[in-house]
């Protein structure tokens, strides 16, 4: 199977609609507004935090905001200088969407928090655990969510059976991103 045709290729995953649990987009945006757009999206690995942050950007734009994005993890660390440059080179931006805030060094995080607070810039971050900022949304995964995603990616006839799905889900410790990565490999080999 060609990489571009694989139903689990990244570009297809990015086009999946985001399923909010227990809230709606207007309610989530209102909650962010009530927190002055300074909040955290929390959840374990592969629970959809990055995806939610991506989907949030156009919604914030529709509300008249000018969000900019930044990403950091262990292999792509951000320095304070880089973060500051991101903010100063985008003077019109009023919200920073930071993916992976929990990977920032302690001092860098606190500098960023103070800096954005002083300039009344919003700061919406993704992190694994609560504590950095008030929690706006808690990403969680379950097997019905996984089934829902697969319904969008595969024709009905090709959906894995429930026991296979449950096994995959548990083997990957509820990490949906890893489940989808495994399914990519399985499809690539099976559909040669």
């Amino acid at each position: 199977m060609k990489a571009r045709d694989n139903p689990f290729a990244i570009h297809r995953l990015e086009q999946l609609p985001y399923h909010l649990s227990g809230t709606t987009w207007p309610a989530l945006l209102d909650k962010l507004e009530s927190l002055n757009n300074r909040a955290a999206i929390i959840g374990h690995h592969g629970s959809g935090k990055t995806t939610l942050l991506n989907k949030l950007k156009p919604h914030l734009k529709e509300k008249g905001h000018h969000p900019i994005t930044a990403f950091t993890n262990e292999d792509t660390p951000l320095t304070w200088r880089q973060l500051k440059d991101t903010l100063t080179t985008n003077p019109n931006s009023n919200i920073l969407l930071l993916d992976g805030a929990c990977h920032l060094p302690y001092l860098t995080w606190h500098r960023l928090k103070r800096y954005t607070q002083k300039r009344h810039t919003g700061l919406i971050v993704t992190t694994h655990n609560p504590g950095l900022l008030p929690t706006a949304y808690h990403c969680q995964t379950d097997i019905p969510l996984l089934k829902n995603l697969l319904n969008n990616l595969l024709p009905k006839s090709e959906l894995p059976i429930d026991t296979t799905l449950t096994q995959l889900y548990q083997q990957n410790n509820a990490n949906i991103r890893e489940v989808l990565s495994d399914l990519y490999d399985q499809w690539a080999i099976a559909k040669k």
Binding site: M1, A3, R4, D5, A9, I10, A188, I189
Partner: protein, 120 residues
């Protein structure tokens, strides 16, 4: 209602490196555009994070809301259009209004045979 289209001469979509690609970009917009750009680009799809490379970028000068403009591009040598198990490389022409407000994309293939290189 906005309409964008790219028409390639002879409806050709398979090309060899170094070949000249000729065509016409057409647009029908509700408002006057600030910029209209035609990009020749490649991008990747598959398991890895997407990469993009813009081989050529043409600013289409006439900024009226409804118009068409022909173009001629000499295609580069590489990369070839390719599909393996983890990675696909795809060539496309992209017509962009106002730096991203709207866009239309037309895929082409680029390789010595005109067909996508496939490895399994």
């Amino acid at each position: 209602m906005n309409n964008l289209s790219i028409e390639i001469q002879d409806n050709q979509t398979a090309f060899v490196p170094g070949e000249t690609l000729e065509g016409t970009a057409q647009w029908q917009l509700n408002e006057l555009p600030k910029s209209i750009t035609l990009n020749l680009l490649w991008y990747t799809q598959g398991k890895g994070t997407e990469d993009v490379g813009i081989a050529e970028s043409i600013e289409l000068g006439n900024h009226s809301s409804t118009d068409q403009q022909s173009f001629s591009i000499t295609l580069p040598n590489s990369p070839y259009s390719y599909s393996g198990r983890l990675l696909s490389i795809i060539w496309a022409l992209e017509l962009i209004i106002n730096k991203g407000d709207q866009c239309h994309r037309q895929e082409i293939t680029l390789s010595p045979t005109g067909q996508e290189i496939v490895t399994n």
